[in-house]
């Protein structure tokens, strides 16, 4: 059952390809705006690179969150998932995982390329990619709660961003400082461990909260 839901998510995403690539294109575009605004000097961009990439990843995730449940809610599939014998929070977890594979993972894969374009020192590449690998799932998980709560709002995207962005602060801090530490020659174990800890916490709690939020919208009104 779970494998079928996963497959369904990918099939849906494949049939709406243009929506799928939008966050990724957005991510690349935002990153390339910074050299245009700040100047193309290596000394200026290099220390800012990790922050730029992280903020762009955060915005790209926010952009994609609104679509996480909306389509399935509108055509009633979400309700069927709630009624099925598989616990609903597991369904929600699968949906979040699929969402991350389709929006977060491409950002992780693209990040070394953008790091290079922003003149990030090569010692920092690994910690940036690892940090994004641990951090972007947290963004999807926390974002899922927001997407669940704002499901019935017509232009939900703005409210969703307002609600969720403050909660992204810890991820942003640990994620963006890890490459900065690495650039100074310090191994950023602490930051990555913290991201891992937050991922463990978000992975266990966020699907429950998101499932609860979805139930409010399915049964409410």
């Amino acid at each position: 059952m779970i494998a079928r839901v996963f497959r369904y998510e990918f099939l849906q995403a494949y049939r709406r390809r243009s929506e799928l690539v939008t966050p990724v294109v957005f991510f690349v575009m935002v990153c390339s705006m910074f050299p245009l605004a700040l100047g193309s000097v290596r000394e200026v961009l290099a220390p800012l690179a990790s922050g730029i990439i992280w903020v762009a990843a955060l915005l790209a995730t926010l952009l994609s969150l609104d679509q996480m449940f909306r389509q399935d809610f509108d055509d009633g599939i979400l309700e069927q998932m709630e009624l099925s014998e598989v616990p609903f929070y597991q369904m929600v977890s699968i949906k979040i995982l699929a969402h991350w594979c389709l929006t977060g993972l491409p950002l992780v894969i693209l990040s070394p390329l953008l790091a290079m374009m922003l003149f990030m020192p090569s010692e920092s590449y690994l910690s940036l990619t690892l940090g994004l690998f641990l951090g972007t799932p947290i963004l999807s998980l926390i974002g899922a709660i927001g997407a669940a709560l704002t499901l019935k709002i017509r232009r939900g995207n703005v409210v969703l961003s307002l609600l969720i962005m403050p909660l992204y602060v810890p991820v942003l801090i640990f994620g963006a400082t890890a490459p900065a530490m690495a650039a100074q020659g310090i191994v950023p174990t602490a930051q990555l461990l913290w991201l891992g800890a937050m991922l463990a916490m978000a992975a266990t709690l966020a699907p429950l909260a998101a499932a609860f939020g979805l139930r409010i919208n399915i049964y409410g009104s």
Binding site: I145, K152, P166
Partner: protein
Amino acid sequence: MNWVWFHKWASPKWFFQKTQRLQIWLAALALILLVTGTVWGLAFAPEDFKQGNSFRIFYIHVPSAILAQSIFMAMAIAGSVGLIWRIKLAHVFVEVAAPIGASITLLALVTGAIWGKPTWGTWWVWDARLTSTLIQFFIYLGIISLYQSIENRDTAAKATAVACLVGVVNLPIIKFSVNWWNTLHQPATFKLTEAPSMSAEMYIPGLVMLVGFYMFFALLVVVRMRTEILQREKGAFWVREYLEQKNVL
């Protein structure tokens, strides 16, 4: 233990009738405490050795900062009460407390900035406490906008309660990470965190102000909750009766 007294407060009618007198008491207490605290703090408390008179904004700044955090906590507790026992009044509390909490947080930020200018020479520093208060303000705004934009009142109340709970779980993590981030970037130039080794004659007016702030918050909440109850229960018989007594209808 007998919980009947508790359940009675869950009834809008009971709440409305019982708070009729309470709000007058709260208003009197808040007025007395705030006036006493302000006059005492601004005129009679001794001047600070280093900061001179500029420290007196302490009497507004510190109570508002403390109250801002308590309101968030209270909203989360009320939100969970509303979700678990399905008490509508708890949701009403969350709804009316959120804008007050946001205003008080803003007050703490603004008074902090005004205090920062003469003491530190700048309106704003990215100090750990200032930053986490700013983020708390953002969380308040997010919760208010969530409540405002969901049309169905019941759905809105429940969604807001969940958002409050998620916010409360996150606040300690945010505070910790901001602290950590700050110590990483720069050594703390200004320590706000040190316990004020103040003399009693300086901090007692502060305590008076603190209690006054709490009373003022309680008063605002009660008044706004009563208005909200009247609006929600406008079809109920006792509301019509009450309005007729007041010669409104």
